[in-house]
Amino acid sequence: MLNRAKRLALAAATALALVPGAAWPQARTDLVVGMRLEPPHLDPTAGAAAAIDEVTYANLFEPLTRVNADGKVVPGLAQSWTVSKDGLTYSFRLRPNAKFHDGSAADSADVKFSLDRARAADSVNAQKAYFAAIDTVETPDPQTVVVTLSRPDGLFLFHMASGDAAIVAPETAATNKQTPVGTGPFKFERWVSGDRVILARNPAYDGAQPALDRVTFRFISDPAAQVAALKAGDIDTFPQFDTYEALPEFRANPAFMVMVGSTEGETILGTNNGRKPFDDVRVRRAMAHAIDRKTLIDGVLFGNGAAIGSHFPPHRAGYVDLTGMYPYDPEKAKALLAEAGHADGFETTLKLPPPIYARRSGELIAAMLAEVGIRVKVEPMEWAPWLEKVFRGKDYDLTLIAHTEPLDIDIYGRPDYYFNYKSERFLKVEEELNRTQDPVKREKLYAEQQQILAEDAVNAFLFMLPAATVQNAKIEGMWLNRPIQANDVTAVRWK
C-alpha cells in the first residue's frame, strides 16, 4: 500500500518535471499586497469605501464589463455585447461556463437579480445613479441579458464596469459582506480582522487561470511600518503607496521597483462660493495666485505629481493645460484682495479630512495664504463629520480634498453641490454634453467646461494625486495607473 503511494508520487513528480517549460526553481505563486486601509466589509454593491474594490474588483467579483489597466472597457462576465442604433438596448452574452464560487451557475437570472437589486427602492448601492437609466432587464435565455434604457447614456458600459455593478447571486447576496461569493478567478479564503484578507485561486474558474495561487491583502496604515514591511519582504507590492518621502530610497535599491502612474484624483482647495468673501471671484483668483503649486507638490508629494489648472486629469482626452492662468504671484494676490475690499486680509477656516495629503497640503496652504494676509485656522476632521458638515451641510469656508471619481467634472453642474457654485454658462455646456455622443465633439465640450471653471476660479485647482507602487523587482503585471480603484492581480506573476 505504502509502496504504491510512493510510486504514484514518484510518477507524478516525474510527469511534472517532463512538462515542457517547467523551470526549476519554480517561480513563487503567492503574493502579499499592501494596502493602507482595511475595507469595512467585502460587498462592493453596498458601500463606497475604495478598499472594498481594492480587494475584490476583478479578483473576486466580476461586473458585466470591466475596466482594464488602460482604463478601457473590456468584457467581464459578459463575453460580448451589442448596442442598438438608438443607444437604448444593450444585449449582453454571458460566458457559458461561468460559475459562482459556491458552484452554482452564474446566468442571466443572477444578472437580472443584481441589476434590479441595485436600482430597487430599498437599494443601498452607493452608485444607484449608475442604474437610473435602466428601464427593464430581460432574460430571454440563461446566457443572454437584454437591458433597455429609458434614455441614452453614453457612459452606461463604463458604469456597468464599476465594482458597484458586480454580479452577485441571490442566495449569497446577504452574506457577501463577510463571506463574499463571486465569479472571479480568486475566491475568498479568510479575513483576519484588522490585519489581512486572504484570497485563493479558484480552480473552477472558466476563464484564463491566474499565475498566483494565493493573494494576501495586508492593511498597514502607518507609513514607517509600511516601509519596514516592504524592506523585510513581508509585503511584495504596495500600490497607492503614499509615503512619497521613501520613494528615492526604494528607487536606489535594485531589489525594488518603483512605478509612479496617474490617478483620477483632482486635488482641490474646495471653496464655498456661496459664502462671503468667497462669493467674490477676485478673492478666489487671489487665492489661486497666492498658492505656489510647485512648492506644494514638492512639500506634500515630494515632487511626484502634476499641477492642474482646472478640474480635469491631464491623461484624459479633452484636457487643456490651464496651469498658466494663475501663476504664483503674492503681490498680484494682495492687489486683487485690496480691489475686493480686503486690503487687510481676512480670517477664515480650513476644514481638513484625514488623508495625509490633505493634512500636509492644508498646513502648507495655510502658510501660503498667510503671506497675502488671509489668516487661516486649520480644523482637522474625521470623515464622518467632514461628510456631514462640509459635504452635506455646506457649513465650511475652505476644505481640501481629492475628487477621485473618473470623469467627474459634471459635479460643477449639480444643484446644491458643496461648492455652492452656480453658472448658467457651465450648465449650458453640460446639457450639450449629455446630448452628444461624438467623441471629438465631447472633447471640445470638456475643454470648454475646464476653461469656464478656471476663469471662475471656482476652487483653487492644485495637483493630481499620483499612483505610486513600490514592489519587489521580480513582480510583473501590476497596474501602473489607477483608472478606477482596484488592485487587479489576475495578470500578476513572478519572474
Binding site: 502648507l364 502658510a367 498667510a370
Partner: protein, 275 residues
C-alpha cells in the same frame, strides 16, 4: 530637628524653571520663526545652522520645541486651573453638606473615573472638534473630578478636628468655617495635587496632539511634532527623539516638584498619586 529641603523639590524646581524660562524666551527670541516654512531646507540633520535640524517642511526644530513648551505649559496650566476652579469648591461643598450632596459628588466622581482620561478626551474632542480649547475642556473635566475627590477627603478630616467643632459651637455658619478654617488647611493638598495634575495634563495633551486632536498647526506642539516625525522614522530618525525628550523632561520636572512639595506641604500624603 529642622526638615531638610527634599532633593526632588530642588531638582524639580530647577527643571520646571528651565522649561518655563525657555517658554518665556520663545516670546521674544527663537533661532528662526517657528512657523517659517522652507521646503527646500527640509529634513536637515542637526548642524551649526539648525541645532536640532529641520522638519519635513523645513521648519527649525529647536524653535518649534521652544514655542511648543509655551503651548504645552499653557494648555496644562489652563486644564489645571479649570479643574481646580470647578473641583475644589465642589469638594469643599461636599464635605460641608455631608449626606446627599456628598453622595452625589462621590457618585459623579465614580462615573468620571470609570472613563480613562485619554478616552474621555478622545470622545469629547469627537463631539467638540479638535483644538487646544477643547483639549483644555476635556482634560479639565477629568481634573475637576480629581480635585473634588482629593479636596473632599482632606476637608472631611479637617471638619472632624477640635477647632472646627469649636468654631461651629461659637455659632459660625458652614460657609465661613469652610473659608476660614477648612480652606487654609486643605491648600497644601490642593497645591500638591495641582502640580501632579499639571504633569498628567502635559502628558495627555501630548498624546492627544500626537493623535492629531490637540493643538493645531501652524502653532507647533510637541505631540504633533512626534506624530509627524513618526512617518519619517526611516529618513530622519532624530526628528522623533527631540520632541519626546522635551515632553519627558517637562513631565519629570513637574512630577519631581510635586513629590518635593508633597514632602513639605502634605507629609501625611493625602493627595492622590499619579496613575
Amino acid at each position: 530637628m529642622r526638615r531638610r529641603v527634599p532633593v526632588s523639590l530642588i531638582l524639580g524646581a530647577v527643571i520646571t524653571a528651565l522649561i518655563l524660562a525657555v517658554a518665556l524666551l520663545s516670546f521674544v527670541w527663537t533661532p528662526f520663526p517657528a512657523e517659517q516654512i522652507r521646503v527646500v531646507a527640509r529634513l536637515r540633520p542637526p548642524g551649526p545652522e539648525h541645532w536640532l535640524g529641520t522638519d519635513h517642511f523645513g521648519r527649525d526644530v529647536l524653535s518649534m520645541i521652544m514655542v511648543g513648551a509655551r503651548n504645552s505649559l499653557a494648555v496644562g496650566a489652563a486644564a489645571v486651573a479649570l479643574g481646580a476652579a470647578v473641583g475644589v469648591p465642589l469638594g469643599l461643598a461636599a464635605a460641608s453638606w455631608g449626606h446627599w450632596g456628598d453622595e452625589a459628588v462621590a457618585r459623579l466622581g465614580d462615573l468620571l473615573f470609570a472613563f480613562p482620561a485619554v478616552l474621555t478626551a478622545i470622545l469629547l474632542t469627537a463631539v467638540l472638534g479638535a483644538g487646544a480649547v477643547n483639549v483644555v475642556l476635556a482634560l479639565g473635566v477629568f481634573n475637576a473630578a480629581v480635585f473634588a475627590r482629593v479636596t473632599r477627603g482632606a476637608a472631611f478630616s479637617v471638619w472632624r478636628r477640635e477647632f472646627v467643632r469649636a468654631a461651629l459651637a461659637l455659632g459660625r455658619g458652614p460657609l465661613s468655617v469652610t473659608i476660614i478654617h477648612v480652606l487654609p488647611n486643605v491648600a497644601g493638598v490642593v497645591i500638591v495635587q495641582a502640580t501632579v495634575l499639571f504633569a498628567v495634563a502635559v502628558l495627555n495633551e501630548a498624546a492627544l496632539s500626537y493623535l492629531g486632536l490637540g493643538i493645531q498647526p501652524p502653532s507647533p506642539s510637541w505631540g504633533k511634532m512626534l506624530g509627524d516625525a513618526q512617518t519619517f522614522l526611516f529618513t530622519a530618525p532624530l526628528q522623533a527623539v527631540f520632541p519626546g525628550a522635551a515632553i519627558a523632561l517637562c513631565v519629570l520636572g513637574l512630577n519631581l516638584l510635586g513629590d518635593g512639595l508633597r514632602d513639605v506641604l502634605d507629609p501625611r500624603h493625602r493627595s492622590a498619586p499619579v496613575i
